[in-house]
């Protein structure tokens, strides 16, 4: 008897949680769509660099290609395919405005509203971020599909289902690592108030060491061993590398496991930082 009561209470609480999550998600989505013009333009403009990148790699290859038509183990078509997939990975893992937003709310005192309401700041922002991403994909899906269709010639073969599954898993984990890592940077605001420079360093490192700019295989082995240990590669390099079959078998399983460990690390870190940060917080700004 009491067991069923407990069970219904639990299912009630879970049901309630989903309702809250759904509402936060829905409202964030509505907010996102409030400025349709700016939003659509911003989304579409991100496709512009593709053309320049394809030409740039074309020029690099025509200058420094080996006899079998490869550069650092990548053919020209591979490189373009890598670049396109990186764009996709970055669409998952980049978090524009997250860290600066958190720091700004700490500095201005806006964060108080999360402290007095029965909500959890990190969970709340997480749902808002998903809503942002969903709104983004909704607009970007067609252009993305169009670009991939135009560039279909650059993809030599479609990976098998298992590899594709691993690719999807790494995309999702990339999103999560991106979120929690940037949330941690934002939470540094509890101690330093301004996180702009820290974020700049992160962006710079991420630009070169995540594989955003070039495949990490290009780098000398000594540098690569260090980068292999960092979480940054999961933000851009990893999903395309899986898709293109650069990582296979046990190395893939191993890599995904390490990714999961990094994810766990940042989830825990963000929680710990939030806990101590709020304690330190003295309610700046009136």
């Amino acid at each position: 008897m009491s067991n069923t009561v407990v069970a219904t209470t639990i299912s009630h609480t879970i049901g309630h949680r989903f309702k809250v999550w759904w509402m936060i998600f829905k409202i964030s989505l509505e907010e996102r769509l409030a400025y349709r013009g700016d939003f659509a333009l911003g989304t579409l403009m991100r496709f512009l660099p593709i053309v320049t990148q394809i030409f740039l790699w074309g020029a690099i290859f025509s200058a420094g290609m080996t006899e079998e038509g490869k550069l650092f183990g990548y053919s020209y078509t591979d490189m373009v395919a890598y670049y396109l997939l990186t764009m996709l990975a970055r669409a998952f893992s980049s978090m524009p405005g997250l860290a600066t937003g958190i720091a700004a709310e700490i500095r201005s005192g806006e964060i108080k509203k999360y402290l007095i309401q029965p909500v959890d700041l990190l969970g709340y922002l997480f749902l808002r971020r998903i809503a942002h991403k969903v709104a983004y994909y909704a607009i970007a899906l067609l252009p993305f599909a169009f670009v991939f269709f135009l560039c279909r010639g650059y993809f030599s073969s479609f990976p098998d289902l298992l590899t594709f599954g691993a690719f999807l898993a790494s995309l999702v984990m990339g999103f999560l690592i991106g979120y929690y890592l940037e949330a941690c940077i934002g939470l540094v605001g509890f101690w330093f108030l301004e996180v702009g420079s820290l974020l700049f360093i992160y962006m710079l490192l991420s630009f070169f060491l995540s594989g955003h700019m070039f495949p990490l295989d290009i780098l000398p082995t000594s540098v690569k061993t260090v980068i292999e240990l960092l979480p940054l590669k999961y933000l851009a390099y990893y999903p395309p590398a899986i898709f293109l079959g650069k990582i296979q078998g046990w190395a893939l399983v191993y890599g995904l496991l390490i990714e999961a460990v990094w994810l766990l690390f940042f989830v825990v870190l963000s929680r710990v930082m939030f806990h101590f940060g709020v304690k330190r917080y003295s309610g700046f700004g009136g």
Binding site: H16, K19, V20, M23, I24, I27, E30, E31, A34, Y35, G109, E110, K112, K113, L115, I116, Q117, P118, V119, K279, Y281, S282, G283, G286
Partner: protein, 341 residues
């Protein structure tokens, strides 16, 4: 047991002292001086269920800090607070469902969306069932006359309208305690009046406990039976507004309408002459000499009309603050302001 119990509460901030100018900014990069600022000092206070209490004090006196401590936004340096059996800064969800904090200078609604959307979110966050939510929202929007504004983006509302929305959002979950930090700041007289009327009515209906800070004496005179004066982080007075006036306004103002336009003589002997604008004359007279003064006036002049008024509340409170900021070791008779509770 009291609904709010504050015991020996202290909150000290470390404040970075920046020296003047660019050189000060540069040296500040290497060595920083910090000053300890006592925002709240040995505060003891009890509030009973259903009271409407005003926190009065000059800027920086520690009123807002006290509200922040009570709502659990910050942790104290020492001391204890018990609100409805909870320690606020543990931020338990059960506690957070039972109070609300409204800050006149902060916006808690979604800026780009109609307020109705924010309210829907509150409904979920605070687990309000549909029937109750609809009932409360209708009641509040009728009282505050905001029914037509619910579907307009918040950014398009006026300051007064936005404040009404903030109040509605805060009251949707029927909190038992409401903390109001300058709820009428920046509002015009009519909007202030509307909010006062609403708060008065709502508090009477629901019998909730309200703590309010405000700089508008009208707010306080209209709303609060009990006034707590805080200065330099310390409690300086606790009692009714009437008692403060008795203690701190030793004079009254007498306004005369004379039936002549000739300059009257002998006014200076009656009291301090504030204004002579014939046929009107304004005098300030010691409280205990008012009656004697009036009878002398009647003897000396032909008077068409006479009014006797208390000092404007603003002036009284300015006296109180000026008095509070004096060092406390002087031996003026009025110095000991003992709490009446």
């Amino acid at each position: 047991m009291s609904i709010i119990e504050i015991k020996d509460l202290n909150k000290t901030y470390h404040v970075h002292q920046k020296k003047e100018g660019l050189w000060g900014s540069l040296t500040g990069l290497f060595r920083r001086e910090y000053k300890e600022v006592c925002a709240v000092k040995d505060l003891n206070l009890q509030v009973e269920q259903g009271e409407f209490v005003a926190f009065l004090g000059p800027n920086g006196a520690g009123k807002t800090t006290t509200l922040k401590l009570l709502s659990g936004v910050i942790n104290p340096t020492s001391g204890s607070v018990n609100v409805m059996g909870y320690v606020p800064w543990e931020r338990k969800n059960e506690y957070r469902r039972r109070f609300a904090l409204v800050m006149g200078q902060k916006n808690q609604l979604w800026w780009d969306l109609p307020a109705r959307e924010s309210f829907r979110l509150h409904q979920q966050i605070y687990q309000i069932d549909n029937k109750e939510f609809n009932y409360t929202l209708t009641e509040l929007s009728d009282l505050l006359q905001i029914g037509k504004l619910l579907d307009q983006p918040v950014r398009e509302l006026s300051l007064g309208e936005r404040m009404k929305m903030e109040l509605t959002a805060a009251l949707l979950h029927s909190p038992e305690i409401l903390f109001l930090d300058e709820p009428t700041i920046g509002l015009d007289v009519i909007a202030q009046h509307n909010i006062q009327n609403f708060l008065k009515y709502y508090q009477k209906e629901r019998k909730i406990t309200i703590l309010l800070t405000s700089h508008y004496m009208k707010d306080i005179a209209a709303l609060c039976q009990r006034v707590v004066v805080i200065a330099q982080g310390q409690l300086k007075y606790d009692g009714s507004l009437g008692e403060i006036i008795d203690q701190f306004s030793s004079t009254k103002e007498i306004t005369l309408s004379l039936d002549t336009n000739d300059q009257p003589t002998g006014l200076e002997d009656l009291g301090e002459v504030l204004e002579v604008n014939l046929p009107r004359v304004k005098l300030r007279v010691q409280r205990n000499k008012v009656a004697a003064c009036i009878s002398r006036i009647m003897d000396l002049y032909t008077v068409e009309d006479i009014t006797v008024e208390e000092l404007p509340l603003e002036e009284v409170i300015a006296n109180v603050f000026a008095h509070m900021s004096q060092p406390s070791d002087t031996d003026k008779p009025n110095e000991e302001i003992v709490s009446s509770r």
